[in-house]
């Protein structure tokens, strides 16, 4: 790790100011990606601005059919919170699948979404549920938020404050974890709303995306078998030592089918 200046601001404005004053500043949320990257000397920020002391970034609330989750909510908190379990159980389940207990106890929703790792779990939920990303300056719809590999709609210095998740009638998340990293090789979240079905996919491509072909196949009825004939093209999919693009495309279908099966056994 290279030396850096550490800051612990007490207000959003102060955090932003510190970031912009820094030669090469970076925000610290849970640090589950940033700290290992710094330890490997792959990141060398001049200033680390720790958001932990900034008020207003934590807390969970259910309002008007929406679950509002503060950006600094830790994965373990989301996984275990009774309000989440009641209002949006799929999100609690998804959070419980992230990494390992150490990661879940430190990592945060906002940190994960800001980093936009292609294999992170939360982005599948944001896309499938049609979530809204609130920042210190605006609101961004999830589908406009994820741009590319580690690339989001966030401007430099912009801070995610909260994410709002609309509540579906029912939803299910299936994840195929990488056996070593426990990141999602493929994760598929299927959510049923009054207006129809939405599928969010993470792990397969450079960033999370809607599975529109899968949604169309399921439009005439929630039947896993309806997915059998769907072509999932692997063009642009991720490929690594553990899983080729072709295999990931196959897993998208398998995980989607299993998510639909899980969803079907839930009451509406």
């Amino acid at each position: 790790m290279y030396p850096f200046e550490y800051h612990r601001p007490r207000a959003l404005e102060e955090a932003r100011a510190l970031f912009h004053q820094a030669e090469d500043g970076i925000y610290l949320a849970g640090g589950q990606t940033l700290i290992p990257t710094m330890k490997q000397r792959l990141a060398a920020p001049s200033d680390v601005v720790d958001l932990a002391g900034v008020p207003g970034l934590t807390g969970l609330a259910v309002e008007d059919g929406t679950l509002r989750v503060g950006a600094l909510s830790r994965h373990a908190e989301v996984a275990a919170h009774p309000d989440v379990k009641r209002a949006l159980p799929v999100l609690a389940h998804l959070a419980s699948c992230i990494g390992d207990p150490q990661v879940r106890n430190r990592g945060t929703l906002g940190g994960s979404v800001a980093n936009s790792d292609p294999a992170a779990d939360y982005p599948a939920a944001l896309v499938a549920l049609g979530a809204t990303v609130h920042t210190d300056s605006r609101s961004i719809a999830a589908e406009d938020y994820f741009k590319d590999l580690f690339e989001t709609a966030l401007e430099p210095g912009e801070i995610i404050t909260r994410i709002d998740f609309p509540r579906p009638l029912r939803a299910a998340y299936r994840k195929f974890p990488h056996p070593a990293s426990r990141y999602a090789v493929v994760g598929v979240l299927v959510a049923e709303f009054d207006g129809g079905l939405r599928v969010g996919i993470t792990g397969a491509g450079p960033c999370a995306f809607r599975g529109t072909a899968l949604e169309e196949a399921l439009a005439d009825g929630l039947d896993p078998a309806a997915l059998d004939g769907v072509e999932v093209p692997d063009a642009g999919f991720n490929s690594d030592l553990f899983a080729s693009a072709e295999y990931r495309a196959h897993l998208v279908k398998v995980m989607a089918k299993r998510a639909v099966q899980d969803l079907l056994v839930q009451p509406r």
Partner: protein
């Protein structure tokens, strides 16, 4: 598991004495030790698999404030330090010596694997050292790397004077008899196998702290070693860092080794040398990514094997051709692992009358390969047990029955194999039967059918393994090329108050010697285990030792302690006889008391100890004091053996393999502490399952390590494993005083073959290269 006896003696599952300090953070590992004035080292490592070093410009780095020195391989060579030796000279098939390429601790002139150290920066603090290391400008002229062991012999020579990159061609057994028998066999099973490269991943990364006292000339090296005396011997006699009597090597608490802390490495050599050069203690601690690159790796074989059977299913011949990847240089015991610890095990548990093994040990531009838990014996078991299973399938025979038919029977012992070993004792059918009962073999078809209804393919696989442990009879080992004897030393100092300090040349880096050895000694003297302190890992305190590897500690080190204890008792009898005015012949020692036979006259162990140090009433011809030592040189190897059975379920849609059941029935001879043995089996099986299903050290065609972190290199976690079901059978070793055989490696030896036999059974394929990761299995399922 065998029922534990009550109390704290032999056979009792005593809780480990050392664990309190380990689990409360009070262990004292190398990195916990700091010296006044200590400075820090960072190593310069090759980014290339193979290159000529054109130039190294250290000026800018050396000018950084806080930097004490930037040292290179040339500086080390100029100071007259020698190369790192290979400790086992393998004779080639034509009688010539193996070809050992020079292995300088710090590379100069050329580099031969990614991560090879070619220099170091020493600075006041670690951050400065890292910053300065990045300012060293080294120019390399890259050359094509040799990576694939199967192609090494056809590739350009890496080392000058090493034709075909061949360190040795080694043979064992009767080739013509074996080939004649194969030609006449009713059936021949042929199998090509790859034994995947593994990266050891001890929990504690390697570390070293070098200290030099210019006043006394003494050097002290604190380091993560499994064998500190061997380290001292190599660093003094071969590398010449310091003479042996001016060098103390301390291996304090060490957090796992699995063989990777046997070799003497560049880094500890360099910090000791650097400490003298800069006049300050120098510390280095590996980052995990350095461990991946530069710890000795394990396995990495490519093998073709043929097993001949007669018309009744009897094995008539086994021929094995293996290319073993030795890496860029011969590590300390790298040459012996794929030869004497591999070819000699090809009989397995079977009466195969003709066996021939040929091994080509080749150099490649990869990290050196050395012992890793099991060291050669897992590779041998993998060959034997995979091909026996394959033969059973080809012949439509029940795999358990085919094995049973060919087992060496209890009445056959001592059994001389065609590959140079004499098994002293065993009962292989007993462990096979017990394992079959434990797994409920008869119920397997039903379990398979039930799994099929859930979309899972269930498979079952066996491994009836044998290993040669308790390394080793010195004379035999030296005849076969070992550079050292493989005896062990033990010393027992009875203190005046009657408690005991035990000094052993074995080294515990997780095995629990402080408990097990205390149990052995405490039982012999009739004292409590808390009255026995076990000291190890310090050449300044322990007279000599060969260390811990090859499941040798209890069988060899423990036996040395038994011999030393016998001497203590013998001297104690003489003291007691004098004090009790009895004939020596009438004084017996039992349950902690010296007693005159058929009398009520007796003295406690403590009373005699006190008299030895306060010799008021004492034999005239006897020296005071009660401290004895022994060197124990084993007569033979020990031969732990057993049957492991794995059941897996394969998800047909995803290819994911789940290990759903694992049974291990092992014969380790007598068991001192069943709980510790249990733990050793669990750990070993976990590592064996890791090899079969998860782990793979992979280089790309340029020699860059592709699996250099835990993001890609998968070591199994608790939730990857079922509850192992373990049990034992017992045939005591016939030639050591404890009747013990050793248990440290069995799990890693049996598990890979058992798991892969189960996976291939589930898939209905002849082979699948390890590890059986999901996509690979998915593709096999698609045919």
């Amino acid at each position: 598991m065998a029922e534990a006896v009550a109390g704290s003696g032999i056979g009792a599952s005593v809780r480990r004495k050392e664990d309190l300090r380990f689990i409360t953070g009070r262990g004292r590992y190398t990195d916990d030790i700091s010296m006044p004035g200590q400075v820090h080292a960072v190593f310069l490592r090759s980014p290339h698999a193979r290159a000529r070093i054109v130039s190294i410009d250290t000026a800018e780095a050396a000018a950084v404030p806080g930097v004490l020195a930037v040292l290179t391989g040339r500086d080390m060579a100029a100071d007259g330090l020698g190369d790192l030796p290979c400790g086992w000279l393998v004779k080639q098939s034509d009688g010539s010596d193996m070809v050992a390429a020079p292995h300088p601790p710090l590379a100069h002139g050329v580099v031969n694997y990614v991560g090879e150290p070619y220099g170091l920066v020493v600075a006041e603090d670690l951050a400065t050292a890292w910053r300065a290391a990045e300012l060293v400008v080294a120019e390399f002229e890259e050359r094509p790397a040799v990576v694939d062991p199967a192609l090494a012999m056809e590739s350009e020579a890496i080392h000058e004077g090493v034709a075909r990159n061949l360190a040795y061609e080694w043979v064992l057994g009767d080739q013509s008899a074996t080939e004649t028998a194969l030609a006449g066999a009713a059936h021949v099973t042929r199998l090509d196998l790859v034994n995947n490269r593994l990266i050891p991943n001890a929990m504690e990364p390697r570390a070293a702290l070098g200290v030099h006292d210019p006043g006394t000339g003494e050097h002290v090296l604190y380091t993560t070693s499994q064998n500190p005396h061997l380290e001292r011997l190599v660093l003094s006699a071969f590398v010449g860092v310091a003479p042996e009597h001016k060098l103390r090597v301390v291996a304090p608490d060490v957090g796992g080794g699995f063989g990777s802390k046997i070799p003497v490495y560049a880094e500890e050599t360099a910090v000791l040398w650097a400490a003298r050069r800069v006049g300050r203690p120098v510390k280095w601690k590996a980052e995990r990514s350095e461990s991946f690159l530069a710890d000795a790796h394990g396995r990495d074989h490519v093998t073709h094997a043929e097993l001949g059977l007669d018309e009744h299913g009897r094995f008539v011949a086994l021929e094995v051709h293996t290319t073993a990847n030795l890496g860029a240089y011969l590590s300390l015991f790298g040459s012996s692992v794929p030869t004497y610890l591999y070819g000699t095990l090809m009989a397995g548990q079977y009466k195969t009358p003709n066996i021939f093994v040929k091994v080509h040990g080749v150099y490649t531009n990869t990290a050196p390969v050395d012992a890793y838990r099991g060291a050669g014996r897992p590779e041998a078991t993998y060959v034997v047990e995979r091909i026996v299973e394959a033969a059973a399938r080809e012949l439509g025979r029940d795999p358990a029955d085919l094995r049973r038919q060919n087992l060496i029977r209890p009445e056959d012992f001592p059994y001389e194999t065609p590959v140079a070993l004499v098994y002293d004792t065993g009962n292989y059918e007993a462990s096979l039967d017990k394992a079959l009962a434990l797994i409920d073999y008869g119920g397997f078809p039903e379990r398979k059918a039930e799994a099929a209804r859930r979309g899972k393919r269930r498979g079952i696989g066996f491994a009836c393994y044998i290993e040669a442990c308790g390394l080793a009879p010195s004379k035999l080992a030296i005849q076969l090329g070992a550079g050292v004897g493989l005896y062990e030393s033990g010393e027992i100092r009875v203190n005046p108050t009657g408690n005991v300090t035990v000094f052993t040349g074995s080294h515990s880096h997780g095995q629990g010697h402080e408990t097990t050895f205390a149990q052995v000694v405490a039982e012999r003297f009739g004292i409590g285990i808390d009255d026995v302190e076990v000291v190890h890992g310090d050449t300044g305190r322990v007279e000599f030792g060969l260390g811990t590897y090859g499941s040798r500690s209890l069988a060899v080190g423990g036996s040395a302690l038994v011999r030393a204890a016998d001497k203590v008792v013998e001297k104690g009898r003489r003291i007691a006889a004098h004090m009790l005015e009895a004939d020596l012949a009438d004084v017996e020692f039992a349950d902690g008391r010296f007693t005159v036979r058929d009398s009520n006259q007796s003295l406690s162990f403590g009373e005699v100890a006190f008299a030895a140090y306060v010799p008021a009433n004492y034999p005239e011809d006897l020296e005071p004091g009660l401290s004895e030592k022994a060197f124990y040189d084993p007569e033979n190897f020990t031969f732990p053996a057993g049957t492991h059975i794995a059941e897996v379920e394969v998800d047909e849609e995803t290819g994911v393999v789940e290990l759903v059941d694992f049974v291990a029935v092992d014969d380790f001879g007598k068991v001192i502490n069943p709980m510790i043995v249990h733990g050793q089996i669990h750990g070993g099986v976990a590592q064996g399952v890791g090899q079969a299903l998860h782990e793979r050290g992979l280089y790309d065609e340029y020699g860059q390590l592709q699996t250099g972190s835990y993001m890609d290199y998968c070591i199994p976690r608790a939730d990857d494993l079922p509850d192992f079901r373990v049990d034992t059978t017992v045939t005591p070793c016939t030639h050591n005083p404890l009747g013990v055989k050793g248990c440290g490696e069995a799990g890693a030896i049996g598990a890979p073959a058992a798991v892969m036999n189960a996976v291939t059974d589930a898939l209905g394929v002849a082979d699948l290269p390890m590890p059986a990761t999901a996509e690979k299995v998915w593709r096999a399922l698609r045919g």
